[in-house]
Subunit: 364 residues, 2 copies
């Protein structure tokens, strides 16, 4: 393990990914972020699941070397994962830099992290290479154009597995073709309050998208945050996929806006009560589970978006959704905590950043 | 109805009974108040339940006249109840000046209210005359000595029904004898939290006391407030009754202190969490039911008593338990509100008196 690794992780834990600083760029606060991901594999190598340790090592070395050689990755950090303790892997999952599935992998693997954590490249997850670019708000074209440049540069260094008429070959058939997955993270508190969210999301899935919690497949939904992404890539162009996600995000935004308007006109007092109580609890609780804090932060975020609360910065709320996660709290305290210790530390951190008068504070 | 009556009620609604200002005199905050009550009847008249309107009128007039004649009642206010709208009677019940049973009576009846509402005399409730004196904290002897003087003076003006060897005759046999009932209002939040309250109160009732909610028989318990009083009066002296209530109050205080100590040592964080959250909700909610506000005020009171919260005045909390009652809110708004309007007004009033930083404020 490189000597600077723990130091790097520690530094990361004190700040949030740079794209999050612009998390209020979507004016109604519904689309929080967009991420695009490409799945790539090296010609002449077995997919990771069928490769032995020597082959995985070889793929990792080849990819490390290629990444070092290309200009877009000049300032990125290469992090080997093989001997990383599980708590550090959990930390990377909480940062959305590696997938939950990747945190379980024990063989040679790694992740390359770009400046500000906007870009990440997983090596030897389900595919040899998975590139990901994130940005705040609805930013399909912006993130895609950045990632396309990285992918093009990397493709000149590495022999990508590609076969006509399919396209890029991937370990799982659902990624064959462009290998592109576009995800938007959407905040739908009003649709949850009006109990319409299930019907709206069911309708969306009929249009070829899938919906998950914040941490990918199988993860539960906290804080009314839903990750919506395209279901298949085969036979579709990148532009087509980007376009369809854009349309679904627009549809969800419209439904959420409508639900907010309904709440405002039909249950304004109850809505304001919920929002103010949530802020009151965040600024007073001594014990907060992750589920409760995410739900309270969600209500406060809605309050800011709807103009019920002022003086609360959205980016500070979003920071807290990252910094209050279990492994983040462990890093802050310098050891692996038990869950009741975390609940206490989480409440303390939230209180230090959200003051009782309703404003967010920048001191700790 | 005397012309000044509505004005008097309106003035009362803006302040609280004067004894409440000393409601923090009991240092651990467990015994909130003591009230002593005497039941008296006039010789030669049927008990109210068996008297016709003319006889009730006669009893009322005789009592009015006697009260006007004696020095201890010089500054008291005589309030006829017969034509008083039910919302005004509810208001008097909320002030503990008349009983819930009395608010249902339609014939000639009245109440005499002493300065600061420490003394009240109901005429033509179950008995012809019921005298009551209240004071903050454990104050059996103090309240008894005041009431005894009033009773003596009144007894010189009116022919009390009295027969040896029973003592004072009353409508219900349980009041025969001294006609004395001593009640203490106790705040037992820790015993409720540790689920010991039922067992402790059951034990107390075996010792000849009865336990009720704040508003007398059949009323439900809000805010962990219990009214404990002697069950019978026959064959017992006043000193005996006072003494036994004092002992029961001491016993309950000990149990409550023990429960507080247990919570402090075994669940301090959860306790502090509950207390701070309660304050957070009181200072932020936009809708508060009476049940919720009483329970939140109870937790905050406990927090002050246990030194978890500072800067919150107990007497301000106790004021709110009076001022947030339904008829008090109606008077504040000048009309009979529906319950959702009250819940909103209650939250507004509480917020104006409890500020977000934890302190109580004196402005409105």
């Amino acid at each position: 393990m490189p000597p600077g690794l723990q130091k790097t992780l520690q530094e990361m834990s004190g700040r949030v990914p740079s794209w999050l600083e612009a998390s209020d760029r979507d004016e109604n606060g519904i689309v929080i972020s967009t991420s695009v991901r490409l799945a790539r594999n090296l010609h002449g190598h077995n997919f990771p699941l069928h490769a032995d340790e020597a082959e995985l090592e070889e793929v990792l070395e080849k990819t490390w070397a290629a990444c070092s050689a290309i200009e877009p990755l000049a300032d990125s950090y290469r992090m080997p994962l093989q001997d990383l303790p599980w708590e550090d892997k959990r930390f990377l999952v909480e940062r959305h830099l590696i997938s939950p599935a990747m945190s379980e992998i024990e063989g040679p693997a790694g992740v390359i992290i770009g400046p500000g954590e906007c870009l990440s490249i997983m090596v030897n997850e389900e595919d040899h290479i998975r590139l990901q670019q994130v940005a705040a708000g609805m930013a399909g074209e912006e993130t895609w154009s950045v990632l396309e440049a990285v992918d093009d540069a990397l493709g000149r260094e590495l022999p990508y597995a590609y076969r006509e008429p399919y396209g890029y070959l991937t370990a799982s058939p659902i990624n064959v073709g462009t290998g592109l997955r576009v995800s938007v993270l959407v905040h739908l508190p009003a649709l949850v309050l009006t109990s319409e969210v299930e019907a709206v999301l069911r309708h969306a899935t009929q249009n070829g998208v899938q919906v998950r919690g914040v941490h990918g497949e199988g993860s539960s939904v906290y804080g009314n945050l839903f990750q919506v992404s395209n279901q298949r890539t085969l036979g579709r162009s990148e532009a087509d996929i980007l376009d369809s996600l854009q349309r679904v995000a627009g549809l969800l935004t419209d439904h959420e806006q409508e639900a907010r308007s309904t709440l405002w006109h039909e249950a304004r007092l109850q809505l304001e009560d919920k929002i103010h109580r949530s802020l009151g609890l965040l600024s007073s609780a001594r014990v907060l589970s992750i589920r409760e804090s995410m739900n309270l932060l969600s209500a406060v975020r809605l309050g800011v978006n709807m103009g019920v609360l002022s003086g609360v910065e959205i980016s500070r709320l979003d920071e807290l959704t990252i910094l209050t996660q279990p492994s983040h709290l462990d890093r802050r305290e310098g050891r692996v905590l038990d869950s009741s210790e975390r609940d206490m530390l989480r409440a303390e951190l939230v209180r230090s950043r959200i003051d009782a008068s309703g404003g967010t504070t920048s001191h700790e």
